[in-house]
Symmetry: C2
Subunit: 448 residues, 2 copies
């Protein structure tokens, strides 16, 4: 492979260059994360709050304070960086999800999960894209290309698996948890694949060949990413069993597990596969094989280390989203016509709900046809919960939206600015509203 | 405090900006670290090798391969970044050292350690500076200022506490370990303080007032840094005990411990204190108080997590130093006159040995005068080991040398280039030679 070393090295230099300024921001973020943990703990008993809402709120407040200090200028510390997200924050979250998932439930519902995550996501993508084309074209929101509409479909088809983990309880509702969460992960992968396809394919001349290529591409990515995850997990199990690190040191075992997991993600990124799928399956295999080959101390350590890293990354993301909300540049365009922005956000929310409804109920019906025992069937209440639980849009949507609608973090076009602000609105609104209502839903479910 | 937000944000943006190139380098580094761990494990039985030499060797080999691929150009991926080192790699290493140190031994020898680390370092600093002024001025190595000579004194007075940890065994030789390691930590702090003083004070008009100011400054830094570390440790213990996180989640306890430790380091950096001292004492207090307030699972997890993070950071540093060695730019100047470079390196090595001898033996004598029991006295063989064990110069020396003698990673002046290459030579030579001989020394010690 011919790497572009010049570019690589320039990047690395930039990445490593930092000074007093970065010390200030690290201090700020670490202190805020501590505050979120403490406050989240104190509010544990209060079921109307959770860590994600706390972090969002604290992020917003900090944003206001910094904006005051800096005199109302646009502090670009608030810029959401896809790379920070995809290289450092997402891997521990998804890996931990795979590592802690109840594998029995997950594999029992495997076909349903794939059905929801892949086919369902496609249905939702088509629904939202068509809806956006139909409605937004008639509105005065600046020029958007066909690629932009399809991107909107992909952006709003990802559910937020991170939040789902915080709201659903694996032990109390194993079936729902594995369905909603499994769908979320597969769903993320499908959306990222669709999004890349939309960006790379020539969409002005869609025909059967290109459509087939697209489908083939998606299948290839699914299979190769999953395969890579399995291989990485099995390889780590083999190395640890064969070399028997525990004889000399627990730390080597823990280090190898952390590094191999991260390596599986980065290798998938390197080959432009779906790194989310890879690291998720790597997590599953590692918890099933590798984890049983290490010493008792390593087992306790890895279990809690992975959970802690994922926990910190989640809080960081919500803080970031909260602070980013106040970046003024993109609200400038919107402030001229606040009505349109509210309209666009509402339309998107409705499209999201319609898009989800368009696959959850039909596919649940299909899935129920294949099950014999009534326990395994998804009853209407559960279908409703799946539909509702997947409403939340999160960090993946944000990252994709920034990727599509900004150039180097700046938003120059009116249409793009409106899409970015609408994405933020949908993410914030769906997170807060769903969290609150979801708890109510569960109260009802539990009481029965 | 009036932060420069514009600069801060620009930095943050640069820091977060990355692309495909950084994915390649992350892949490379993670894979190499895995390789170092596996090879280091396989060579465990071989006492002539250890993880640091393995990492140095692998780093060198990789450097050669990349140099071949990139066609002999200067790949600046090899540039040693002080910030990467001081912000991400050093904190876990020093914190873990404090966390795992045998506190009883450490505090019993506290006065001796401070004597060696502070006064001894000063003696070594003066010896090396005077020697450098006396010898290098007469040689043809380009223009060096008085500040440069003093910087050389500070650079070569730090011993490498990281390597010491790998070679000495805490359980077999508790007295020696606590002396050599404790000296190393205090020593690092003194050198960094001296180095900053040399850079900031006007050295052309040294008089008694400025000298007193300097001493006062050093004392202030020592006391305030240590105090901050204690406070941070005690505060974490209080928060965890008071809030009783374990009731709800182990992960919160672990997260709070990690974040508070890192925060203590970063706050010290923010106020330009000696962050090394702060995080070291924070580690001691945390292992003494906080650690006993958390749940059993958290105890196992934190102990091994800190050790693992420190382990990975150490390997990363040695890989980096190994790869950095091949950066061609600085060898360009030296290749015209290889004789001078060898001479300079040899002279520096001799100065380092003389500088250490000038304080280890007199101060041991002083320390012995205050001890009554013969067990507590440092006999000649132990003095010799302390002298020899502190020979190694490591990553702190490298970082300070790059700080003093390069501008933005580039070496333009002949004198500066020679100093950089000599520092690398001394670090590599002392690491390899000492490691090998040290094992022999220990064989002898153990046999008696």
């Amino acid at each position: 492979m011919a790497f572009d070393f010049g570019a690589l090295l320039e990047k690395m230099k930039m990445l490593l260059a930092s000074d007093h300024a970065s010390i200030v921001s690290i201090n700020l973020f670490v202190a805020l994360i501590c505050a979120c943990i403490v406050i989240g703990h104190l509010l544990e008993e209060n079921r109307w709050m959770n860590e994600s809402i706390t972090a969002l709120t604290i992020g917003l407040c900090t944003g206001v304070v910094i904006l005051q200090i800096s005199g109302g200028k646009t502090p670009h510390i608030f810029m959401f960086s896809e790379d920070l997200f995809f290289i450092y924050l997402l891997p521990p979250i998804i890996f931990n999800a795979g590592f802690q998932v109840k594998k029995k439930q997950f594999f029992r519902n495997f076909m349903t999960i794939i059905l929801f995550g892949a086919l369902g996501n496609l249905i939702s993508f088509i629904t939202i894209s068509l809806g956006a084309i139909g409605i937004f074209r008639k509105m005065n929101i600046g020029k958007l290309e066909i690629g932009d509409y399809l991107a909107i479909g992909a952006i709003f088809s990802t559910t937020d698996s991170v939040c789902t983990l915080q709201v659903l309880n694996q032990d109390e509702m194993p079936l729902l948890y594995s369905l909603v969460f499994g769908e979320g992960v597969v769903n993320d992968a499908t959306s990222v694949v669709l999004f890349n396809a939309v960006q790379n394919f020539d969409l002005s001349h869609i025909n059967t060949t290109i459509a087939l290529q697209l489908v083939g591409n998606i299948l290839y990515l699914f299979i190769s990413s999953t395969f890579l995850g399995f291989i990485a997990g099995l390889f780590s199990a083999y190395v640890i069993k064969k070399l028997y690190f525990g004889r000399h040191s627990t730390d080597r075992e823990v280090a190898i597990m952390i590094l191999m997991a991260y390596l599986s993600y980065m290798v998938a990124e390197l080959f432009s596969l779906s790194a989310i799928l890879t690291v998720f399956f790597c997590g599953i295999v590692m918890s099933h094989y590798t984890w049983h080959n290490v010493s008792e101390n390593s087992r306790v350590t890895t279990k809690h280390t992975f959970a802690t890293l994922s926990f910190i990354a989640e809080i960081f993301i919500f803080l970031y989203v909260g602070m980013d909300t106040l970046d003024m540049e993109k609200w400038k365009f919107v402030s001229d016509s606040p009505g349109i922005s509210v309209k666009v956000s509402s339309i998107l929310l409705v499209l999201v709900l319609v898009g989800r409804a368009a696959f959850v109920f039909p596919l649940s019906f299909l899935s129920n046809l294949t099950k014999k025992s009534p326990d395994e069937k998804i009853d209407f209440k559960q279908q409703f919960t799946i539909w509702w639980a997947g409403l939340m849009r999160g960090a993946v949507s944000m990252a994709l939206a920034y990727n599509q609608f900004t150039k180097g973090g700046h938003t120059q076009l009116r249409g793009n600015a409106i899409m970015i602000t609408s994405t933020i609105t949908v993410v914030l609104f769906s997170t807060v509203v769903r969290d609150l209502n979801f708890l109510l839903t569960f109260d009802n479910l539990e009481k029965e």
